[in-house]
Each structure stands twice: as structure tokens, then as C-alpha cells.
Amino acid sequence: MSWLWDPFLDYPFMRMAFLAVFFVGVTCATLGVYVVLRRMAFIGDALAHTVLPGIVIAYFYGWNLFWGALVAGLITALGIGWLSRRQELREDTAIGVLFTGMFALGILMISTVRSFRDFQGILFGNVLGITPANLILLAIVAVLVLGTILLLFKEMELVSYDPNFAEVIGLNTETLRYVLMILLAFTVVSGIQAVGVVLTSALLITPAAAASLLTDRLPVMMLISSLFAILGGIIGLYTSYYFPVSSGAAIVLACTVIFGFAYTFRTLRRKQPNQ
């Protein structure tokens, strides 16, 4: 059984990576439940891609890439909200235009740099190389996002399934939507640290989608989703430790396998009589 403990006992970077996947997993998976239930998967994916120019600008100026990503993420989140509110374009069209344009701008800026390797960690994730400073930022984002979800739980829940009734009792559904988008921007930036720009939406969607197959209670769904994300993170870490594969891809694939199990379990449970 020493293969289980050795990586963590012998290498501080593995302990840091474990803490990182814990914070990122819980944050992405909890907010991901709202992303899945409110059918916002496309927005999550778009946000993850549109932060690229911010990261590249931060790199050019020698700033922490986290802040570059966060600023770009917040601008995109508010931009999507503003564009869809004006209703001159359908929301998915507005997102599609912004998403591809910003991502192309990011790639164009990267192509001006001689070494593409500097951005590999951002594009595909590098949780094994997480720094103590970034780990603290991930912890702060986790507390901020989970704290907001907890404090606004009843309002977020109501707005998600009956926005009209929420308006009738005086809730501003538009403001709550912006709050959700801002939380999503923070969460996406946190996810990028673990699995990179290309795969972050998987951390938002896959554990939550798996959890939604197993329960019809919102708090339980958030809990199961978080457990799945952490489990996927740990399996991915072990895989990338013992085999020479990308940690981000391994984490996402582990989550996909967990989703497969959840789907099979639900299918079998439905086939049983008296269920």
C-alpha cells in the first residue's frame, strides 16, 4: 500500500497539488451544479477560453497570471451579461462571438512569443507545479465562492427554477445573474490552475452532471459533485505521478470515468423493478 502514501510523504509538490485539487474541485463542482441545472455549460466553457488574452498580457508584463485571468474573466462575465441583456443578439450567439474572438486574440498574442512552452501550463494545466502563493489564492477563491453560495442559497435556488416568482417578491434576478457570472469567472480562473484553459469547463460540468444523475436534492447534489471532483483530482494526480501523462487531462478523464459509473448506476437502478 506504500504506493498510496509515498507520493505525498516524499514530495511536498504532491501535497500542494492535493490541496490545490481539493480547493479547485470543491469550488468548480459546487458552482458547477448551478451551471448544469441552469443550462449554462456553454458560458462556463466560453469563460474558460476568453481569459487567455488576460493571461498573456499578464505574462508580457511579468504579473501573476492569476490576476490577468481574473480581470479578463470578470470583463467577459459582465460583457456576456450586458450583451444578452440588450437582446440585440441571442445569448448563445453573443457568447460564441466573444468566446472565439477572445480566444483567437489570446492565441495570436501567444504566437508572438518565441517559446510556446511558457503557456503550456495555462493551456493544459500544471497542478503539480502550483506555487504556495497560488495555493493561497485558490483557498481564498474557494471561501469567497462557497461563502456567497451559502449566504445566497435560497435566493439563487429560487431564481434558478422560478425567476418570475422571484421578481414578484422583489428579488432582482438580473443582479443575481451577474453575481453568478462573477462567481463563475472566479471559479474558472481557479480551475485553470488545475486543468488549464482547454479543460476547465469539464471540471465545472462533469462532476455536477454525474451528481445530478444520483440525487434530486440540491445540497446533496453539491456535496456529491464536490466528492466526485476531489476523487477525480486524486485519481488524476496518482495517474500523472506514476505514468508520464498530463495531470490536467488525467484529472478530467478520471472525472469522465466517474460520470460513466454514475450513468451506469442510474441506468441499472431504473431497470430494477419497484424503483
Binding site: 437582446q87 435560497k154 427554477y161 422560478d162 418570475n164 414578484v168 417578491i169 422583489g170 434530486d216
Partner: protein, 245 residues
Amino acid sequence: MLTYSGCHHPPPVRDAPALEVSGLSTTYEGSRVSALENVNLKVRPGERIALVGANGAGKSSLLKVVANLLPRTRGTVRIFGHPCGTCHHRVSFLPQRSELDWRFPVDVERLVLAGRYVHMGWLRPPSETDRKLVQEKIALLQLDHLRGRQIGQLSGGQQQRAILARTLVQEAELLLLDEPLNAVDARTRKIITDVLDHLKDQGKTVVMATHDIGRLDSDFDQAVFMQDGKQVPPPPDQTPAKHTS
């Protein structure tokens, strides 16, 4: 209490009607056709008003303007003497069933509890009184055995009773009901009709959209007939004394 609207809940203006609508017109965004045109209505506290008309007549639009869901293009709406949108706790709205996402993971008890949120405001969890009222209304609508069931697993009639329980648990003085008897089974119809009768005894003001003109005289104090967003005179077979146009 931190109210959702950000302002305190004002008391009713003395001797003011429960609802007063004057010269009201509205248009849906992106449409050139008026959904409502010059609608006038005065409802005294404790009265029961039927909004009668075919689909698209403007019944739901009128309820939505009063509930502050649809903006006015002209006219005024006052609720207990206050502009609409300033006394959310006094107005309870029963939407049509199709307006909710029934697949969302909440159970009946949680759905009904949402009717108390306007009294809780931000950050406050439900009190014992809130929970007691929720149980009372669930029992009144005969949903006891379904309280823990996810709302999408209810029949159409049970869903209708669940959202009516949410409307009642708010304990508002003015109830706006959008076709509560539409497409429900006989048992649900009986339960809802009994509950609506009981509202009159409690002195609640009810404005209800309905297709059913069979029981206008027995169940309502006034009937407002609508067609293409306008008030129209009652059909010849309806008693004129009780109807406004």
C-alpha cells in the same frame, strides 16, 4: 430585516382600494401589438374579481403588470394606495404551471417555503413560524404525503396545488391567480375550489384569470371581460349588474 426590494414594507393607505388600475396599457418587448389597452379596474379589499376571456385576451398580462413582472407603457397601478413594486409582501402571484422549471431539484416543502421568503429577506433562515405555516398549507392542499417529493415527480394537479400552497403561505392580502383551475383533475378542482371559497371568509382580495364562466355569479363579486387586451362588455347571457367593462 434586509428586504429584497431594499425599502421597508409600507402599511396600507387608509380607505384605499386593494387594487386600482387606471388607463393601463402595455406592450411586450419586441412586439408592436398592445397586450393591454386602456384597462381600468377598482377592487375593494375582500372582493373577488374574475378576469374572463379567451387565450390571448390579456388576462395574464394584466396580472403580470400588477405583479410587477411586465412594465407599463401608460397608466397607473396602485396596490393598497401604493405604486406597484413597493409592497411585495402584500401581493401573492400564482403563475401558470408552465412558467416553472419542474426538473429543478427541490421538493414540495422547499417550493412552498419560497412563499415565506418575502417575509425573511436576505440572509435570514426560516423561523419556526415559517415552517409551521408551510406545514399548514401543505395539509390544506392535501399534499402531506408528497412533501418530500421532487416537484417534477408530481402530477399536473399536484403541481398546481403545490404552487397554490406557496401562494397562500405568503399570507398576502391581494392574491393574483392565473388560471388555477386550468387543466386539473376533478379532485384537484374540488380541493382548489374549497380553498378559494375559504379565502373569501378570510377577507382576502382575489383577482383570478379564468376561462370558466359557469360559476361567475356564485364565486365572484365582479367579472371583467377581456378581448384583445381591452375590456369588453359582458356577453348578453351574463347578469349585467355584477359585471364591469
